[in-house]
Amino acid sequence: MNISPVHYIALPLLAAFLIPLLSKLHKELARIVPGLVFLYFLVISVVLMQRLETQPMISEVIAGWSAPWGINLVFTPFSGFLVSLMSFIGFLVWVYSYHFKKIDYMPAQKYFILLMMLVTGSIGIVLTGDIFNLFVFLEIVAISAYSLTAFYPGRDGAEAAFKYLLVGSFASALILLAIVILYTQTGTLNMADLAVKMHEVPHYLKVIIFVLFLVGFGIEAEMFPLNGWAPDAYSQAPGPIGAVFAGIVVKGGIYALVRVVYTIFDLSGVGTILIALGLVTMIIAELAALRQDNLKRMLAYSSIGQMGVVLIAFGIGTDTAIFAALFLMLNHALIKSMLFFSASYLLYNSTTKTIKELTGMAKHLPFVSFIFALGAFAIVGLPPFSGFWSKLYFLMAAADAQMVLLIITVLSVSVIEIIYYFRVIGKIYSKDETSELEPKKPTINSVLVMTVLGALIIIIGVYPDLVTDWIHHASDALVNKSNYIQNVLTENLPR
C-alpha cells in the first residue's frame, strides 16, 4: 500500500484502539506502540515531502468520494511543513515522556493514548480539507487536551482543565454555529468548494461567519482576550504536554485560522484586524509575563506573545511576512518545547513552581540549565540561534509594509521579553544558593531530546538554508489560493 496522508490519521487511531488490548499482552506495549506511530509519522512526512517535489500538492479523497462530495485530505507544502513539524515534536515528546512509567500514580497507558491523539488531532486539523472534519479534529484535540491538563492528580490540574473546557466549549459552539450558517448559504462543507462559492454569501453574513470563526479558532490560537485558559493549562499540564501545547496544538489553531482567512474568505481588511489582534495579544501577554513568578506560566505567556507575533505576520500577509510567520512557528515549536522540557526538570523538586525556587539550580543541573539558557537566547532572537532569522524576516516584512511603529512596538516588547527571560537565567545561574535539595537528574532519553533540539536550534541558526526552502514552498503554497482550489476540486479519483 502506498504511503498517503491518511496514514497520519488511520494508523494512530488503529493504535489507539489497539493499545488497551495490547497492554493486556504486555504492559510496555502501551508506551512503545505510540512511539512506533510517531516514528512512522516521521517516515510518512519524509516520503510525502519527497513526493511534493514532483507535484504541487497531494489531495487524497476518503471513502472514494472526491471533493466536494466526500472528505478529502490535502497535503500541500504548507500543511506538509506543519505536519512534519508536529510529527517531529510529537516524536520528541514521546521520547521525553518515555520514562514516565516509573511514576506510579500516572496511568501511563492513558497518557500515551491521549498524547498520541493530541498530536494526531492537530495533524488532522492541518490535513483535512473539510471544514466540519476540521471541527471534529479540533474536538479530538480539545478532549485530549482537557484530559491531559487535568492529568496530574493535584487539584489545580482540574481547575485549569475546567477553565480550558469552559472556554473551549465556546470555541466549538462558535465554530459549529459558523459552519451552520456557512452551510445554509453554500450547501457545501469542503473548504476549496466553500472558497469558490463564497461570493454567493451576502457580505454581512460573511462578516458574521468570519467573526465566529475568528473567535472560535482564536481560542485555540491563544488570541487575546480568549487566552485566559492558556497560562493555567500550560502550567498545570505535565511538562512535556506544555511542549505539545506550545509546539503542536497552538499551531493547529493558527493553521485553522489562517486557512479560513486565506483560503475560504476573500475579505479585504482582514489583515488589519489580525495585526491589531496580534499586537494586543503580544503586548498583553509579554507584559503579563514580565513579573510572573511561576515559571511555566511565564513560558505560557511568552508562548502567547509569540503567537501574537505570528498573527501579526499573517496579518501583514506579504510573501515575506508569511515566510516569517512560518519560520516563527517552526522556531517557536522547537524552542518553546525545549524550554518546557528543561523547565520541567528545573521545577522538578519545587513545590510552588516559582522562579524564586530556581536559585542556584545551575550547580545541580548544569545541562538542563544550559539548555534552558540556550532556549531563552534563541527565543528572544539572539543570533546565531534560529530565533534570529525568523525575527529578522518578520521585521523585514514589516519594514517592507512601511510599518515603522509596528516594528518599534514589537521590538520594545522584545526588550521586555529579554528582561524576563534573563531574569530566570539569572536566578538559575546565581551563586547564592541556599537549597540543599538533590534534584532529579535528567534521564538519558530527555537528555537526548534536549540535545537534539538544542543542536537543531544552533544548526538552523548558523545555517538557516537548511529549512528555508521548505518554508518558502510552504508559504508559496499558502499564498497560492487558486492553486489549492484547483487541485482539490479537480482531483479525479475513481469513485
Binding site: 474536538e139 480539545a142 482537557y146 481547575e159 454555529l177 452551510y183
Partner: protein
C-alpha cells in the same frame, strides 16, 4: 418583513433555538454552580443542534430514507447533511459534557466547593 405564516414559523423556530443558546450562555456566564455551568454548556449545544436540524428542513419534506414506497422521493426529501452532522455534534457534545462532569467531580473533591468563583487558585 411581512408577518405571514412562513415568517412567524421562521422566527419562532430559529428564535427558540437562538433563545436556547442565549440562555445557555447566560447560565455559563452568570451561574456560579459548576453543574449549572455544565448544564448551560449543554443548553448551548442543544440550541445549536436544533438550529442545525432546522436549517435542513423543507416544508412538507420527508425523511431522507428511501424506504419501500419512497424510492423515488428524492425531490421531496429534507436535507440529510445537517442530520448527519448533528449526529456527530451531539456525540461530541456528550463527550465534552462527560469530561466536564468528571472535572467537576475532581474539583469538588479537591476544593470542597462547586462555586466557580471560589476556585481561583490559578491566576495572574
Amino acid at each position: 418583513m411581512d408577518f405571514d405564516f412562513q415568517n412567524i414559523v421562521t422566527i419562532s423556530v430559529y428564535g427558540s433555538a437562538i433563545a436556547l443558546i442565549l440562555i445557555g450562555i447566560y447560565a455559563v456566564l452568570i451561574k456560579k454552580h459548576l453543574i449549572k455551568i455544565v448544564i448551560g454548556m449543554s443548553l448551548v449545544d442543544a440550541g445549536l443542534h436544533l438550529l442545525f436540524v432546522a436549517i435542513g428542513y423543507i416544508n412538507n419534506g420527508t425523511a431522507p430514507i428511501f424506504s419501500p414506497g419512497y424510492e423515488d422521493a428524492a425531490t421531496n426529501m429534507v436535507d440529510p447533511v445537517p442530520q448527519a452532522l448533528v449526529l456527530t455534534a451531539i456525540v461530541i457534545g456528550f463527550a465534552v459534557t462527560a469530561v466536564a462532569l468528571s472535572l467537576v467531580i475532581r474539583l469538588y473533591k479537591h476544593h470542597g466547593t462547586v462555586r466557580i468563583d471560589e476556585i481561583k487558585s490559578l491566576k495572574w
